[in-house]
Subunit: 399 residues, 2 copies
């Protein structure tokens, strides 16, 4: 048995995702565990369809097991996102590899970049550059170029490489035996509007479905069906715009001090968002006003999600449990193995997990709350507490 | 000098309101002080235009001075609403009368009803009836009929009579020397859809303006102008519906316990609202689910506003200050007099008033917050903190 982890959002699951799973199997993996973001994703917005559906589609698309990346990591910076996901894979105790797409397409250059950004001098100089008004990623890239040369700094220019670098860093921190493997990303890039040879970006697919286009050329049939059913039943999320009043309400209810205490908002961003939200009552305008070269749009949006969901720094312990979201028909051997090796409480029941200590309680409560708020972003909002009631999808072995 | 107080919402100010002021003057009042609700009104919804505009229109329509009824009383039950308003009139120290419209049209029957509902036996029996599942108003009317007869219980059947009874009760409690006087309400009733001889209900006028109709037959020209300007500038409030996501967000963010601690929600209503908001993601549907014979729709809506604005029982001290909202051209003599007699801190500046003790700080902060949230209910939301920045309207004595 060779277990392989994939960190994913599957928002929604498309042919590129399936291809990545297939490649990973071709490279020798016998069992695939996806660590999947829940109802909010790293772009700082609600996912297009519910995590329960997305977990099911991941199984139908080829994964054997889906576990949930708790929401505080899912909506956080690449570094925290990667740390949370890698810690979960490590906690399974029997994952051999982590497989991810990257623009670089080779582990050596990502390792070199990971080494560079872990360098104490790079960290200190980045901080100094950042203080002059640059964004953190730009500052870091600059410093790496000066100290390690252009070849390595260029690795840090694209989003999938950056995530890959963070996975490697997180594995190093945990002294994990999990091996990183990477495939060159094929087709359209993450946020592109284009499609290429049967691959389309997830972003493009979300937009296509919202305007009623057929996406069958780019997704497995199950995804097409799930997305079209969701659209016709009023269950597609309207995205961040659909939560804009809740966000405005949160921003207007929080004080300058409270906003400054949000994660990554202590260096003036919280105060800037406070001022922007005082000046304007339009979410997009607030983001535009708050954004600077230093505070990127991603950071500003992420801060809004922290405010919306009430995520503060106290949530960034390491993951307190393993929550199983969906189980494939070939998962039994994997589950038997994990059953012996896992190092964190594990369950299909969030209720059960919420009883496993203080951090588990806090995380479960936040997760269920995020789902309740996510459910306000869909045309026909679902009921509250669904994290406690929706049964885990288990693929029928008989099909 | 004869000072007379009027408790009002002026949502918006119309011919009926002007007629009431004129009648009050004909009855001998030389100076009229309006105690006006701010940006939220007792129907448990945002007012149709901002309180700054409404205060100005009250002056242009014949009032000499407008002071603000703090939001916690303005959105509360008739009893608290009346108590807050009467306490403010009493605190001015030189108001001789309180004038209000009523269906009864005579003080004697309202006094009799006030005496009846203050009777300890009535209160105790009402509580017992209420426990059986009746609404509080229905239970009280029943008990009064049994103990005092139909003539008196019938007084308690209409909303303006009930308010009048509460004014009288509040005056009695304060042992106030202010004399209540009442006029029979002419024309359309408070919430009616009809108009009658140049009088239309405020509710009908709000709807007419929202659909672009001309309201000049029912309002002073200044009201027509203000409402039409607000409509064309996107400054009309969309009402409670326009805050529905913020309310849903509040209800889904609060726990069962927190909802049960809201004012008047401790007897099961908070828990009922929690369940309703868990079941549905539609505000109107939630209200329908939560409502029973016992918990009237008004109570349910009011609870939602308490949740939205964060008003709990700790806000129901007696009013901590007198906030002047607008000043008429003939107010000087009145202001000179009040300057010598007022018994609470008084100012045109909320900032100034917020420094007058703990309750004043709390009330001012809540008031400003309510305005910030009100401003999310209008098509083009205004900036935050307007309670601290909008100057008081002062009618030009030269005009």
């Amino acid at each position: 048995m060779k277990g392989c982890g994939i960190v994913a959002e599957y928002n929604p699951f498309h042919n590129g995702h399936r291809f990545h799973i297939e490649e990973t199997r071709r490279a020798g993996a016998t069992h695939i565990v996806a660590v999947m973001s829940g109802n909010f994703v790293q772009r700082a917005e609600p996912a297009v369809i519910s995590k329960f559906d997305r977990a099911r589609l991941a199984i139908l698309g080829g994964a054997d097991l889906v576990i949930e990346l708790p929401v505080q990591y899912a909506v956080s910076s690449s570094e925290r996102f990667a740390r949370g996901a890698v810690a979960l894979l490590e906690a399974l105790g029997c994952v051999d590899e982590i497989s991810f797409g990257s623009e670089a397409g080779n582990i050596a250059s990502l390792r070199a970049a990971a080494k560079a950004v872990s360098d104490k001098d790079v960290i200190e100089l980045t901080r100094q550059f950042y203080e002059t008004g640059m964004s953190y990623p730009a500052a870091r890239e600059n410093v790496v170029e000066k100290l390690y040369g252009k070849d390595i700094s260029e690795v840090l220019r694209t989003s999938n490489n950056i995530l890959g670098v963070e996975y490697i860093k997180a594995l190093d921190e945990l002294k994990s035996k999990i091996e990183p493997i990477t495939f060159r990303r094929e087709g359209a890039s993450h946020d592109s509007d284009e499609s290429e040879g049967g691959f389309a970006s997830a972003r493009m697919l979300r937009e296509e479905v919202r305007r009623g286009a057929d996406i069958i050329n780019y997704v497995p049939f199950e995804t097409k069906l799930a997305m079209e059913t969701a659209a016709s039943e009023g269950k597609l999320s309207g995205g961040l715009d659909a939560l804009s009043q809740a966000i405005l309400f949160s921003l207007r209810t929080m004080s300058r001090e409270e906003l400054s205490e949000l994660p990554d908002c202590g260096d003036g961003l919280g105060s800037r968002i406070y001022n922007a939200a005082a000046e304007s009552g339009d979410m997009g305008e607030i983001f535009d006003i708050a954004k600077t070269k230093r505070y990127t749009m991603s950071r500003v949006r992420r801060a809004a999600i922290y405010a919306l969901l009430g995520i503060d720094a106290s949530y960034f312990f390491s993951p307190p449990y393993i929550r199983i979201m969906a189980i494939g028909r070939n998962a039994q051997e994997l589950l038997n193995r994990i059953g012996k090796t896992h190092t964190l409480p594990m369950s299909v029941s969030l209720k059960e997990l919420s009883k496993q200590g203080e951090n588990a309680f806090k995380t479960a409560k936040l997760e269920a709350h995020a789902t309740d708020i996510f459910n306000l972003s869909i045309y026909k909002p679902a009921s509250r507490g669904r994290d406690y009631t929706v049964p885990v999808f288990k693929e029928d072995a008989a099909i």
